[in-house]
């Protein structure tokens, strides 16, 4: 069992403050992994420890079986794209990209040629002679990417590289980065606190909270089967209700809000166990009449937020807020302030152990 990048038991203390708490992670060669988590959850700290700019208080890291301990940042052969790009202002785009080659003793002619090819790959043909301040944010981003890739690093780290870009450019760069990463096959860790970015780009997502890894899973798994209440709430929109298991073998739980809920039986739970019941807003169906079969509850509509193709209906059932996502065409059947029925299928119910 050998993964390409391995972190085991990594701890980091800043004085008394524990920034990382027993981080264990395996990443395969060529994988695109995203670190997702709220501000201050330890994403950057983990990256900086891998890059060698911070020392782990405990734990070890290996790349391809070789431990990184004792290697200085400049000996690690890891490419990094920083949030503010960190391009050298006194060098042109192509000189920036040539820099890592220069440091590796590649001759100027050969190095500049290679740097130009890399700039071409990131879509910056014809911009090589410009200085960073003569480039737009997105273009600077591409130069930074080219610079971090040109020396064929064993690992590529990107710390919120798209944070400073506007929405359109951001989406464009997401696709670009993914394309280049696939083409070069470089193992990549991408940090973001934007969950849609994480969902759309990653092979796997690592969710951080308070210096701990909450869950590692592929995007769909993470969305549909979150391990913890935190992940369920952080990734996507959700209705989370506290309840307990009634019949573990049959797959039946109960909560105050929706009454009894059947769910796909799972042997991880036992009768009477306190759980959280998760139903995604798009899995709830609104109707005026009570459904004849299946499970349902009543809800009072408070607000309808229209997005054109779909709408978010925010209401409450008892004291509990409920969110329902409906298709744009269906929203005409309800009005704000009215009562209606919501129904769902057992497959849409996901049970999370209370911790």
């Amino acid at each position: 069992m050998s993964s390409y990048l391995n972190l085991s038991g990594v701890n980091k203390m800043f004085g008394d403050f524990q920034a990382l708490d027993d981080v264990n992670l395996d990443i395969e060669r060529g994988e695109f992994v995203t670190f997702l988590g709220p501000s201050g959850s330890g994403k950057t700290t983990t990256l900086m420890i891998i890059a060698g700019f911070e020392q782990a208080t405990k734990g070890r890291i290996t790349i391809d079986g070789k431990p990184l301990d004792g290697l200085k940042p400049y000996q690690r052969n890891i490419g990094i794209v920083f949030q503010n790009y960190a391009l050298f202002p006194h060098k042109t785009a192509v000189e920036n990209v040539y820099f890592p080659l220069q440091m590796r003793g590649v001759g100027r002619r050969e190095g500049l040629e290679k740097a130009n090819r890399m700039l071409e790959l990131v879509g910056l043909k014809g911009f090589s002679e410009r200085h960073p301040k003569e480039l737009s944010g997105g273009q600077q981003q591409r130069v930074a990417l080219a610079r971090a890739l040109v020396f064929e690093p064993s690992l590529l780290l990107l710390d919120e590289p798209l944070g400073a870009l506007d929405k359109n450019l951001r989406e464009q760069m997401q696709i670009e980065i993914k394309r280049i990463q696939k083409r070069l096959g470089v193992t990549t860790i991408f940090v973001t606190h934007d969950q849609t970015e994480a969902m759309s780009m990653s092979d796997r997502i690592v969710v951080f909270d308070k210096g701990r890894i909450e869950q590692v899973a592929d995007p769909l798994e993470l969305y549909h089967r979150p391990n913890t209440r935190f992940v369920a709430g952080f990734v996507g929109e959700s209705n989370i209700m506290a309840g307990h298991v009634v019949d573990a073998t049959a797959g039946l739980a109960e909560c105050a809000v929706f009454g009894s809920c059947r769910y796909p039986a799972d042997d991880r739970f036992s009768n009477g166990q306190a759980v959280n019941i998760l139903i995604r807003p798009e899995h709830l169906k609104i109707s005026r009449k009570a459904p004849e079969s299946g499970e349902w509850a009543t809800m009072t509509v408070d607000t309808i937020v229209n997005y054109g193709d779909n709408a978010l209906v925010i209401g409450h059932s008892g004291d509990h807020p409920v969110r329902v996502r409906v298709l744009g065409a269906d929203v005409v059947i309800i009005k704000e302030g009215e009562d209606c029925h919501i129904s769902w299928r057992p497959e849409a119910v996901h049970i999370i152990a209370e911790t």
Binding site: Y74, G79, I80, F82, F88, F99, E113, A115
Partner: protein, 275 residues
């Protein structure tokens, strides 16, 4: 309101520029001593300046002393600034105050101090003595300029360089130093000007052998009010003017070059070996 501001600005500029308006014409004057307005004009005092060793020697001394002061100041200030701006250590705030001390103490006090202290060390009336004293006065100025620059320096650039394979030494040479170059140059320039301009300490300790230009001018104005002083002042003014205008000229010239370059559309020019 805006007009009033402009008027005030104009008056202030006139007030500041007034000495120039008087000094420059006086340098071309044919009067026997400083006199304004000049009775007539000639270039005789320029000739006098460029042929009289008693003026040229102090000029040379000043250039020599200011240059050496600049070098010594920068050797001291660059490492000190990096230490004080970037590192935490015990007694840092005290060290900070010490660096700025020479600026707070009146020059005359420093001068008396040097006179007696250097006297014991046989450094009075030597170039070395003046260089040491001037360096002491230049350090705080150079430090202030450089530390302001260093504080604004984005350290992720250094991290980036290291992640790209540059050791700390090469990071310093290839990234830190070039980016700080304008700050270093200005810092050095201030050190140079400080020394070149310094009079009080020079009067006390430069003596005959290491006599600086300001000291010679001071002596001269006291004794004979030789119009050569106006010549020197004018020359200094011209030198400073050139120094101030050079960056703008260079910029304008570069902009022009770039425009002509962009016109001829050079494809991957970087493929050709440069520099």
């Amino acid at each position: 309101m805006n007009r009033l501001m402009k008027a005030i600005g104009f008056v202030v500029v006139c007030f500041i520029a007034a000495p120039l308006v008087i000094v420059v014409p006086m340098s071309f004057s044919d009067a026997r001593s400083l006199q304004f307005p000049p009775p007539g004009y000639w270039l005789g005092y320029y000739e006098a300046y460029f042929t009289d060793m008693s003026w040229l020697r102090p000029t040379w001394n000043s250039i020599l002393i200011a240059s050496a002061t600049t070098v010594l100041t920068m050797i001291l200030v660059v490492p000190a600034t990096f230490a004080l701006v970037r590192h935490k250590f015990y007694g840092k705030s005290v060290a900070n105050v010490m660096m700025l001390m020479p600026m707070a103490v009146p020059h005359i006090v420093m001068a008396v101090g040097y006179y007696s202290y250097f006297g014991q060390m046989r450094l009075v009336h030597t170039h070395l003595g003046v260089i040491l004293a001037h360096s002491c006065l230049s350090v705080p100025i150079a430090f202030l300029v450089l530390s302001a620059n260093l504080k604004g320096f984005d350290r992720t650039l250094e991290r980036a360089a290291q992640s790209l394979g540059a050791s700390p030494m090469r990071t310093f040479i290839h990234v830190t130093l070039p980016i700080l170059r304008p700050g270093l140059l200005i810092s050095a320039l201030f050190a140079f000007i400080q020394s070149f301009d310094e009079t009080v300490v020079a009067i006390f300790i430069s003596g005959r052998d290491a006599e600086t230009l300001p000291r010679k001018m001071f002596d001269s104005i006291r004794q004979e009010a030789d119009p050569v002083i106006a010549v020197i002042s004018t020359l200094l003014f011209v030198v400073v003017l050139i120094g101030l205008l050079t960056p703008y000229l260079v910029k304008a010239l570069r902009g022009r070059l770039r425009k002509t370059n962009a016109g001829s559309e050079a494809p991957p020019a970087a493929l050709a070996p440069q520099e």
